[in-house]
Symmetry: C2
Subunit: 664 residues, 2 copies
Amino acid sequence: MEGVDHLADERNKAEFDVEVMKIVWAGSRHAFEVSDRIARLVASDPVFEKSNRARLSRKELFKSTLRKCAHAFKRIIELRLTEEEAGRLRHFIDQPAYVDLHWGMFVPAIKGQGTEEQQKKWLSLANKMQIIGCYAQTELGHGSNVQGLETTATFDPKTDEFVIHTPTQTASKWWPGGLGKVSTHAVVYARLITNGKDYGIHGFIVQLRSLEDHSPLPNITVGDIGTKMGNGAYNSMDNGFLMFDHVRIPRDQMLMRLSKVTRDGKYVPSDVPKQLVYGTMVYVRQAIVADASIALSRAVCIATRYSAVRRQFGAHNGGIETQVIDYKTQQNRLFPLLASAYAFRFVGEWLKWLYTDVTERLAASDFATLPEAHACTAGLKSLTTTATADAIEECRKLCGGHGYLWCSGLPELFAVYVPACTYEGDNVVLQLQVARFLMKTVAQLGSGKVPVGTTAYMGRAAHLLQCRSGVQKAEDWLNPDAVLEAFEARALRMAVTCAKNLSKFENQEQGFQELLADLVEAAIAHCQLIVVSKFIAKLEQDIGGKGVKKQLNNLCYIYALYLLHKHLGDFLSTNSITPKQASLANDQLRSLYSQVRPNAVALVDAFNYTDHYLNSVLGRYDGNVYPKLFEEAWKDPLNDSVVPDGYHEYLRPVLKQQLRTARL
Amino acid sequence: MEGVDHLADERNKAEFDVEVMKIVWAGSRHAFEVSDRIARLVASDPVFEKSNRARLSRKELFKSTLRKCAHAFKRIIELRLTEEEAGRLRHFIDQPAYVDLHWGMFVPAIKGQGTEEQQKKWLSLANKMQIIGCYAQTELGHGSNVQGLETTATFDPKTDEFVIHTPTQTASKWWPGGLGKVSTHAVVYARLITNGKDYGIHGFIVQLRSLEDHSPLPNITVGDIGTKMGNGAYNSMDNGFLMFDHVRIPRDQMLMRLSKVTRDGKYVPSDVPKQLVYGTMVYVRQAIVADASIALSRAVCIATRYSAVRRQFGAHNGGIETQVIDYKTQQNRLFPLLASAYAFRFVGEWLKWLYTDVTERLAASDFATLPEAHACTAGLKSLTTTATADAIEECRKLCGGHGYLWCSGLPELFAVYVPACTYEGDNVVLQLQVARFLMKTVAQLGSGKVPVGTTAYMGRAAHLLQCRSGVQKAEDWLNPDAVLEAFEARALRMAVTCAKNLSKFENQEQGFQELLADLVEAAIAHCQLIVVSKFIAKLEQDIGGKGVKKQLNNLCYIYALYLLHKHLGDFLSTNSITPKQASLANDQLRSLYSQVRPNAVALVDAFNYTDHYLNSVLGRYDGNVYPKLFEEAWKDPLNDSVVPDGYHEYLRPVLKQQLRTARL
């Protein structure tokens, strides 16, 4: 059966040009070509094999990470890959590793916070990997609240050094990736103390390990924090702990772009605007949103293909059973996730533009749009990562029992993805930041200050507070204006209600604390509106290719109407729509499902994932699932022998009723 | 700090008698005492250690299962434990194992479907574990649809034998626990064929392995299906595959209580009512609901204790930070789950009664209540397992980053629990069974046939279709009648709307398929009503102990009002309540959270879980979390050496820029 495409019928059904959709998904022909080429390169290299990952012990798994990283670096040099290509290579290797933090956090931190001189010195070492660095911020007792960090960096004018110290157990650095076993250096965040005064959190470059024999330097205690969620998954990474016992570093290893300490211990802020930090945040979070669309699309690709392969019930007279993808319950769970993958892809694309825009404005010292951009990226990071984590697990369940097998690819994808809900800002904490921004915006509505960017709709408060949806039949829900107005009315009315309820409290902060749950819901409503509106904006672009725009149109309205149904309580309690209109939206949703059904497999083919990258027996391109499940099963160590290890000690004595004399 | 109770302040705040609550939770003083005694016995026995589980390879983990099972059986014999005590012992060992299937499926299948003679022969062997059995039903290509199984059992009158055969690869048995490496026997489900006619699925006792050397018998291929979700978790179990190549068994190994095949190959149904099968189903599913409350309460216990230990933000002037359990967002996510744990516990208790009731009626050949009991248990299995799986993951997120560590206990609890959503009936398929029953009940409303049991409320359709909620202030939502009426109105109206929409289709089955998603929602509404009503009924019982009933009352209304908010779209679109009343419900919910807050830790103490059973550093009884996190971290194999294995091959060449010559 090798070579047979079991999903050929599905692919023949498609009503659009898949090759064009691949480019739309990738963002550009160039992006598609680079990804396609590098993905194949990784897939064809046996060093990057990963289907055995679940069978490795922690030590073996970690060693395989070291091997893959070294081999990747070697290939990058040999093939003279560009920075973009090198990044894609690391991505498609698809194994969490110290290099992620080295390139993704250590190098950018020096770039963003180091002086030119510091950059020259440290980046030349880091770029060649003569040193390997990590990002040591989080502490055992301090995650979300960076201002609560306890590690101290006390300036000693006698020696012109900082003394880095861990004063309590909860002050131990805990979690940084790459710290446990690999990093030779770290950017350490600590409270800067000079002349007896605490100037708050600053970054310092600290060497952790000898460059000669890799042993930790004196007075540094460092190690791995232990097994994490899942089998394989993030256990390939050496997340670490770190304690300093009065470790001394030269003064010039404080990152001094934003502020510095002089030879005599004076603290001097520079004239570089502090707002630059927000630019970095926007960058990191847009990358997280892009990652969400990737993780989600992987899960959806697996679940969609297997839903087309798998048959269950519905046979008549011994005939063939129904493909599970034909059931409305399956469609009702799966297709909104397929639509979400596309929605997150396009909002991620838009965020990339936003980052460019913010960067240009910062360069021109225009800080006006920053708060809005900051709130919007925080909210979208929260929204997309929460939805993606939930969706991966839902896709696993949509594969029935076999989704529970590691080789389905979904358990590891889930385990490796969920930290995104917590790192770079806990998702609930982030929505509260959005809520604070919304409350401020609502408060200023009468003041003549015009809301900008994604809050622009709030400027039409007068209309949105009283408008009534004009939807009268199911097809009216395919009208972009009708959909947008409903989402805008809902978001604005929820925000205004929160503001009203807040105003009843004498103490605003106490009111905010009391109403946290409502505020989070208002923030989510606002963020969902952003995603819907950016998807609709995408449809207004010039998109060619037979049937491509039609498919995107269907997915856009599936996404919007699915949200409308999921959060129906919001829409109804704010009178943004009526129960009758809600019912029409459901009718339209079912009709859209029928339209997507014949295109479903092609719509996930458009992600252009290799079988290596998916690493899923259920999501194989050729749909040849069942024989491959057997192949995987036979590889389990338990099948090395017919009679299991332990039989003679622990099974035979039971069966032979010889327990009394057995040594257990 | 050993011996210090870091949560003593929390425990001192409690406003109720925890010891009495422990008995309420356990169900009776006897149940409490047995559980308490056996849990301590297990916790104090080093063989049952499980905190190292994540560090074992698959083979080591499996061997530890064999050892624990043998040791447990030995202790059961030595201590002359009762059947109840033995069951608790296996439960508290808390490691999925072949014995679960032997005692939970193999033995009951023979009891339920074997003739007296067969029971005598096989149970005497099974009860002493001279044979070990599993339950081989599911096939590689056939899960939910039992009628689609392909394995055949063809009667050969020449030799008076059945020929068991696996005709295709998808017909391979796949998933049965205990099959892969341990079971000597199986109850195999196969299509019975005699005289050329297919009589559908029946059970057969088949020996799989030699009782002398444990090797598989001729023409039997058997093995383990490979790694499953998570680290530790279900990987301690040998879920297996199994293929038969014309394996012959004596005719008397067909389980013949319900029907038999005679010496000359005639198929003869017995006069034992077929409905007995439903009795077994009710039994299995009530056990699953009970398990849901246990898994959920474990997760809630961990998250609640750690939420009281953990502090984040809110410090003023260098003071101590706020306990995260004091944040309304945390309460809003955590307390409904605490309430759900109690709710599921009580509905599980009621299901136990229902099983007794059904059994008595069956004995008296009264089948009138069976369809209702069947629908109700199917729905509650679905509702409670879905909610529990989601809640465990939510509890993990509520623990912040540290919830992602294996030693938090939550990743493994999640991985080991989620199969409950799929086995014994996929949760969506089960809700559709409920929906079919509801549609039938609605259709008969005018006919004079009075709905019974959990559907009794539908008999008051005339009132429920037109009533308006009388809630006028927040406290009105503490009135059981107001709450019940809102839930009844919502459930009935959703069911009636579905029935109306169905009637628009000419082909009823086609309409049902088209409206599957709506039908599932109607079924869920019905099931939530059951849980709420049984919690309210529990409050009407005589419950003593200072403050105990008050706490249960708070939890009951948190559960109900949380559901009301979560499914607000249902309540509003059916006009069961108004937006204003919904807002009042939220106000009441916040007030209830404040009342639960000081009692939260004591409410999870009432579950009476040992630290061994919880296996969570974050959920430790004494709250001494941070030093213990370090202790666990040091045990990781990666910390065996300061310089990691692989440094010389794969790290040093990178750092020393010697990649070109390195052998990778």
